[in-house]
Amino acid sequence: MSQAVIRFKDVIKSFGSQTILDRVNLTINAGKTTVIAGPSGQGKSVTMKLILGLLRPDSGQILVGGQDISKMRTKTLNEIRARFGVLFQGSALLDSLTVFANVALPLEERTRLKEREIRTQVLAILEHLGLTGHEDKYPAQLSGGMRKRVGLARALMLQPEIMLFDEPTTGLDPENSLEIYKLFLETQKKFGYTSIIVSHDIPKIFNLADQVIWVNKGKFNTFASPDDIQQSELPEIQAFVQYTMGKIYLGSVNE
């Protein structure tokens, strides 16, 4: 059985009077791909920000590699964050920096590598992601798909143990979406990271998942495989899956 890298224990998170996460328990296993899915505005992005320590829970524990980050000081938290790579929904590239400078940034700021070595590594990853020749462009001069690839290159620079993808294909055409999924599979194979994908690009995203976490109204349901979720008898899941995937197969109920 895989080792748990991230674990939520009775996590509660509210904004004002609105409870977003209500006593949530979840486990994310090492080396696996976990998809967090569900309707918009139900707490998927909040979950991601809690994992990254960008938000703190009102109560409960968030364990990353066994360490509780919910009350951790920023300095210690930064050491934990160095294990993560993140691909943001809008790529979140620094728009005043070129593609090269964006990708080089984690190495310049987080390592003591020499300039020449940084250049070699950046050019290698840009080549791997099909971005050669675009080093001197600014994010505003790139297409949505290219920006995602630059974001992925930047996230992979420090060889993270855990990669988080926030809606990785939102706003992309089908061709670019497939390209991102292809790169995801390639890079996961190469770097062997644990991945957490927040998405509602269903059913495509299910093909990549080892585990699916369904988020709805502050409650989380974990399904061991994409097939399990399709056979769930929970009415809200049936409705959402039927809406996004068509008629659901419900096993003996249908027969």
Binding site: K49, L52, L54, N78, E79, R81, A82, F84, V86, F88, Q89, G90, A92, L93, L94, D95, L105, P106, E109, R110, R154, L158
Partner: protein
């Protein structure tokens, strides 16, 4: 009645929260200045943006302010037969008040608004979150170079404003209205003391801190400022708020420092 009290209570709590946020922002912004590794190149770039790029604005505002002071001063002093004191009037007005205040207001309008909008957009497009996720301290990387650059630029621009303003006064008073140039410069030399210069410099440092604190702080917290709205509209409202708040703060602190140092 209860609803009215609730509103007062909620506004008070929000105001206290905002003060707390801005207070810790100031501490972290100043703390980042001494954190290693120093971002010298970023700081120099900010000095160019905040300081050097304000050169011509300050030059024209200072020149015409000095000329207006020369004109107004001449007609006022002539009533008392004291045109010879024009140099003293112009220099003291510039050094103690107009130099620091107008420079700070110009920097607020030109560079403060730009800093607020830049950081606000970075917040809205998750660029600040991205820095934190890469374990890069946004204060050391982004905010503190702006703090240091503003603290360097504003006093230098104030000195420049004062010098240009004095020549503006000379041009209007001596060049156009016939005041004796010797009387203009010697009056200045006799009346200006170190305390006048120090007061202006102290003010310029305090104003620089107010500008960079308020402008970068409002941009940084654009997502939590009540009533600011979201997206481009939020950034626009918060930028306006930052310029207004900074300008008012400059004038309030101008009064306080003058009252303390005089």
């Amino acid at each position: 009645m209860i609803r009215y009290l609730e509103k007062i209570g909620s506004n008070t709590i929000w105001l206290l929260e905002d003060l707390g946020r801005m207070g810790s922002f100031l501490v972290l912004g100043l703390g980042g200045v001494v954190k290693r590794p120093f971002r010298l190149s970023a700081m120099i770039r900010q000095v160019r943006l905040i300081g050097a790029n304000s050169f011509w604005v300050i030059f024209f505002v200072a020149g015409f302010t000095g000329m207006v002071l020369g004109l107004q001063g001449y007609y006022t002093l002539r009533k008392f037969g004291s045109e010879g004191a024009l140099g003293s009037a112009v220099s003291l007005s510039l050094l103690r008040e107009l130099g620091p205040v107008l420079t700070a207001l110009m920097v607020t309008g030109r560079a403060g608004s730009a800093m607020c909008a830049e950081i606000g957009i970075m917040r809205n497009t998750e660029q600040l979150d991205a820095l934190e996720c890469m374990a890069i301290d946004p204060f050391r990387y982004l905010i503190s170079p702006k703090f240091l650059a503003t603290l360097i630029s504003v006093p230098i621009l104030t000195i420049f404003f004062n010098v240009v303003g004095m020549f503006g006064g000379y041009l209007a008073g001596c060049g156009l209205l016939g005041v004796n140039p010797g009387a203009y410069w010697s009056g200045m030399e006799q009346s200006v003391v170190n305390q006048d210069i120090n007061m202006g410099i102290i003010k310029s440092f305090v104003f620089a801190l107010l500008i960079v604190w308020v402008c970068t702080g409002r941009g940084y917290f654009v997502h939590v400022i009540r009533g600011a709205g979201f997206g481009a509209e939020g950034v626009s409202k918060v930028t306006t708020q930052a310029v207004v708040l900074s300008s008012v703060a400059i004038l309030v602190w101008d009064y306080l420092i003058t009252a303390i140092l005089l």
